[in-house]
Symmetry: C2
Subunit: 406 residues, 2 copies
């Protein structure tokens, strides 16, 4: 079993991190400028893997990082991440900036360029000032510390209402493996892809191909199973770095000694992204069962999880199960109304096609909680099922996104 430990992304041995302010983000109300550049450095070259956005309007740093992982054969020394500017849709100049960001980091940490992974997050279409990034890298190098996780985590935030980092350890007969991670949300969060920026670290000793397979497995059931607003960013990526400092060798992606703590950290961070979704006040766990296939179950879960009518009903604590049924019915998944059921918390509101509206008051009570479970049976008699996490949709989401850029 895994246990929670402190230290976030620098909890595993072999990593240092820093977060600095280099003037990319607009100053806030605070007297100190906001942190906007995070640097994570492995003491030795680490095994590395990445999962990237499937958006065809892909940002320059994603193009660069994907190429670097290929060129290096899955090895990395450092990850450099700025917030406040996505360096997306910035044309050839943007590609040049992403490359120079990697080069400056490589020079500073003493690695080859392809051993640096780059990520950016923030507004799309605005040029990223490389002079500011260079100055930030110089500062970050000086600040690198084995307890630098908190500042790095703060430096990757955009509209996130709180920082998201986590670490767990698993004790094995051969010793302890630790996995740490940090992530940012909180808009443009959509299932089916790496939907944010996340960095996971571990001291396991693992080859890049095994690390990549394990990362893919846990991403599919964590970051790919959440949604805030159904949007998929131009910049999404999750990186995993393995330092090997524990000297415990993992040779299979299915090895629970790595998979269990990776899953715990990725799952926690994913749910934290939803909980901190733009304007979110509630975290909803959505179970879909009775589907003709696992794909159908995810199709229905995704449609329900992204339905504005469902999300506003949850916000208003309105047990409007009809919206859940309507969303499942329009999802494209096989659906049998006469066999379908809806349960909110432990309240069965709609059972095999029959409403139980006398239970609506109890369900409304459940919906006032901050953490809610909703179960939908699609009524096909199939065994397909899926779990997703979503949040409610509030007027605050509109306020945030109507005012984000200007």
């Amino acid at each position: 079993m895994t246990r929670v430990v402190s230290g976030g992304i620098t909890a595993p041995a072999g990593f240092r991190a820093a977060g600095v302010a280099c003037g990319i983000k607009k100053p806030g109300t605070s007297a100190t400028p906001p942190l906007d550049l995070a640097l994570v450095v492995a003491d030795q070259i680490a095994s590395a893997a990445g999962v990237f956005t499937t958006n065809k309007a892909v940002a320059a740093p994603v193009v660069v990082s994907r190429a670097h992982l290929l060129q290096s054969g899955g090895r990395a020394k450092a990850v450099i991440i700025n917030s406040g500017c996505a360096n997306a849709c910035t044309g050839k100049a943007g590609m040049q900036v992403a490359r120079e960001m990697a080069e400056a980091t490589a020079t500073a940490v003493g690695s080859s360029v392809d051993e640096v992974l780059v990520a950016s997050t923030g507004v799309i279409g605005v040029p990223l000032r490389i002079d500011k990034v260079r100055a930030g890298i110089a500062d970050a190098i000086l600040e690198l510390a084995p307890d630098g996780s908190d500042r790095a985590t703060l430096a990757i935030m955009t509209t996130d209402p709180f920082p998201k980092s986590y670490a767990v350890a698993i004790d094995t007969p051969e010793g302890t493996i630790t996995v740490g991670g940090m992530a940012k949300g909180s808009g443009m969060i959509e299932p089916r892809m790496a939907t944010m920026i996340g960095v996971l670290t571990t001291d396991a000793q693992v080859e890049p191909a095994v690390l990549a397979a394990a990362l893919r497995t846990v991403v599919d059931e964590s970051f790919n199973a959440i949604t805030v607003d159904g949007e998929c960013s131009t910049n999404d990526c999750v990186f995993a770095l393995a330092s090997g400092s524990s000297h415990i060798e993992i040779t299979s992606a299915a090895d629970p000694r790595l998979l269990a703590p990776l899953r715990a950290v990725a799952g926690h961070l994913a749910r934290e992204i939803v909980r901190g979704g733009e304007g979110a006040t509630k975290l909803v766990t959505l179970h879909v069962t009775g589907a003709a296939s696992r794909e159908d179950a995810f199709l229905a879960a995704r449609t329900v999880a992204n339905s504005p009518l469902v999300k506003t009903a949850v916000h208003g604590a309105d047990p409007n199960w009809g919206r859940l049924i309507a969303a499942a019915g329009r999802s494209g998944a096989a659906f049998e109304l006469d066999g379908a059921s809806v349960t909110i918390g432990d309240v069965e509101l709609f059972v095999k096609g029959v409403p139980h509206d006398d239970r609506a008051d109890r369900a409304a009570h459940v919906l006032q909680e901050k953490t809610i479970t909703i179960a939908i049976d699609l009524g096909t008699g199939g065994t397909g099922e899926a779990t997703m996490w979503t949040c409610d949709f509030s007027a605050e989401y509109v306020r945030i996104n109507a005012e984000y850029r200007t």
Copy 2:
């Protein structure tokens, strides 16, 4: 050319309509109870056609109306529509109520049961009180009038901020053909299907099969090309009735003498639904060009038109073209960033992959209008294109839908 005429759904000869209050809708703040039952009656049996929701959680009145059109071979004497209760997800009892609603109407207007079309709109999962409907039908029969369109139009509204009716006439060498219509929105509005309740009437003399083909054509480019919130209702349907009173025979669905006025009325009503979308303050016409195919163009248009980030940016008059590109990029349509362009009004903000942010202020000015045109070129060099209509996303949408049921 068509010209606008007054009279709405009763503008074509051969139709009478009524709208009455029968106590299904909750009383509002007004002293008079809200109208909630609409009846449209053809003087003689009319040719009839319908387009129905594709939602698998289909409501009882849709099942009944679809069956009646099949049984009657596309003939109808009357359409009976209640608002305030969708009679959806109401099980076998709901099917019985929908049938009894048709039977009571048939008895009252002196037709066979299958010559009555039934529709319901409102909250899902609540039983429809047939006693109230029966009383309403008795009242409506007495109120039926050749100028009853306005009251019928009011009686089908739910959260609609204003009634939607329209009529046009076309003068031909053989005489004048008139088409009238009424529609209601304004939530659960999604492209690709008949996405609301609408009734179109005409005095053209046209066989059911020709009317059905013409209806399908105009629905695809009107009601199926709009979106408010990406939702597809359990109850959506559009009916067309042709009285033949003009004695002008239409034998082809492509005949512009029927198609042009049908298109004018359906297009106008569809745009009015968007303009009156829940919480909407702006009507956006979205042109997608440069797509690999027409299907790709619609896919991209639909994704952009439903994007919460795009819709909130429009609401905030924020020329955040990056969100348009990101939504197009994630749509699944073929997309080439280097060839892609975005134009808001007449302001080219992003031209073949290059941002022109110095024009952002001009675009922000355009976005302050109530009626906005946005053009996106997907950059593939293809000739596929599509036009859709959408609205902005406001805090008012959240307020309406968080409080709708309770």
